[in-house]
């Protein structure tokens, strides 16, 4: 059984986790996903346990991606429609190179087996040992990034809701800033553009990890997306719905003028 595959070949959720398989599906359908590999739950566990052969194998696959890396957990039974597990699992941004990979994988394994993660699993009715795979991709240096829901999560309206900020999407996902807030209808017509209050951007730092950078005053309330970009996001929303179904939670980033898909999963009930 293959323990590591290129992301586009991740097919089995039980082995590679739902994030990897979701991204693999996106790649197979021609969506713009940053290149990467999927590590199985078993190799992540083996690396966390300190098995040398596993560490070597993981390094061999990840090496060609270069550095820096985005290392994200991909759990086997996460992302179901009943519970978002939002924030339960770990994303390690800017792991500078493959040398730091094994400690990153160990951290991810432990975050999936942490007190809070296990308690959360039990609360949502999962009593088995978690299996956590990992997705490793080349890290982007985005100009702007954020989240898009293909349905309004508060009103339920059939429209795209986009929240965006400067730099890495962490700022939006983790709620570090008040992001710009946009709404677009299916046809692409922009219904609302509300500038946020974006004092901080999350950026990757040369030696690994990220930092919260204070932004210069004129960027704080400047809209970070123009109408062309909103149009592209609307088209991406349509493609995601075609491939995965309705009510999608999409993480995206715009780097070097290109819109990338970072994650696409179901909007959870009530989420």
């Amino acid at each position: 059984m293959k323990r590591v595959v290129p992301l586009g070949k991740a097919l089995d959720e039980a082995i590679f986790g739902s994030k990897a398989v979701g991204l693999g599906q996106a790649i197979r359908n021609g969506l713009p996903v940053p290149p990467g590999v999927a590590l199985s739950g078993s190799i992540v566990e083996a690396v966390a346990a300190g098995e040398r052969a596993a560490i070597k194998e993981a390094a061999k696959w990840v090496g060609p991606l270069g550095g820096p890396l985005a290392v994200r957990s991909s759990a086997a039974d996460e992302d179901g429609a009943s519970a978002s597990f939002a924030g339960q699992h770990l994303t390690l941004l800017n792991v500078p190179s493959v040398e730091q990979l094994s400690s990153a994988l160990s951290e991810i394994w432990w975050s999936a087996n942490s007190d809070s993660a296990i308690t959360y699993r039990q609360k949502v009715g999962l009593f088995t040992r978690p299996s956590v795979g990992v997705v490793v991709q080349a890290l982007l240096d985005p100009d702007s990034a954020g989240v898009m829901f293909t349905r309004n999560p508060v009103t339920g309206a059939d429209e795209r809701v986009i929240e965006a900020s400067w730099g890495l999407g962490e700022a939006v996902v983790a709620g570090i800033v008040i992001p710009d807030h946009y709404r677009i209808d299916r046809s692409g017509q922009v219904l609302e553009r509300k500038p946020g209050y974006k004092k901080i951007a999350v950026r990757s730092v040369a030696n690994g990890g990220t930092v919260e950078e204070k932004l210069s005053p004129e960027l704080v309330e400047r809209l970070c997306l123009n109408d062309d970009q909103l149009g592209e996001l609307n088209r991406l929303a349509g493609r995601c719905e075609q491939i995965y179904g309705s009510a999608r939670d999409v993480e995206w980033a715009i780097a070097g003028g290109t819109l990338y898909l970072l994650q696409c999963r179901a909007i959870t009930k009530g989420g």
């Binding site: 083996a46 966390a48 346990a49 300190g50 098995e51 040398r52 400690s103 160990s106 394994w109 432990w110 087996n113 942490s114 007190d115 809070s116 993660a117 296990i118 308690t119 039990q122 040992r129």
Partner: protein
């Protein structure tokens, strides 16, 4: 080499009566985990998922806001929540760079069930704790 160093487990009173082969079996199941100084290892009141042995560094134990004790290399903690599936009884914080080896519930329980001597030692410690809490 996979798991915790045998030398570490040999120092832990819980495992001293096991023979080398038993120790090796158990050691393989452990995984290293590092905590930075000041990081919370275990939070009082939360659900519990893992049992830890300290390899290096120190940690403080606080119950109900009062500092109770300091844990050092060779000490272990976290087993009670795994045994009764209840909440963590104390908050344990790394007071220096802390390196632990941990077992989650799914590995801990079989170890205890398969090794009566380990179970006996756990019972001894819990009896001691029970007496001490009655004296408080």
């Amino acid at each position: 080499m996979r798991g915790a160093p045998i030398k570490l487990l040999q120092r832990v009173p819980l495992f001293t009566d096991l023979n080398k082969r038993e120790l090796q079996q158990i050691a393989r199941l452990f995984k290293a985990r590092r905590f930075a100084e000041g990081q919370t290892v275990v939070q009082e009141g939360s659900g519990g998922a893992a049992f830890f042995v300290i390899e290096s560094g120190e940690a403080t134990v606080v119950i109900g806001g009062k500092k109770r004790t300091i844990l050092k290399p060779g000490d272990y903690f976290g087993e009670i929540a795994l045994i009764d599936e209840g909440k963590r009884m104390a908050t344990i914080t790394a007071s220096s760079e802390l390196v632990c080896y941990g077992l989650t519930y799914w590995d801990f329980r079989p170890v205890v069930q398969a090794n009566g001597v380990v179970g006996w030692k756990l019972l001894q410690r819990m009896a001691k704790m029970l007496r001490e809490s009655r004296e408080d």
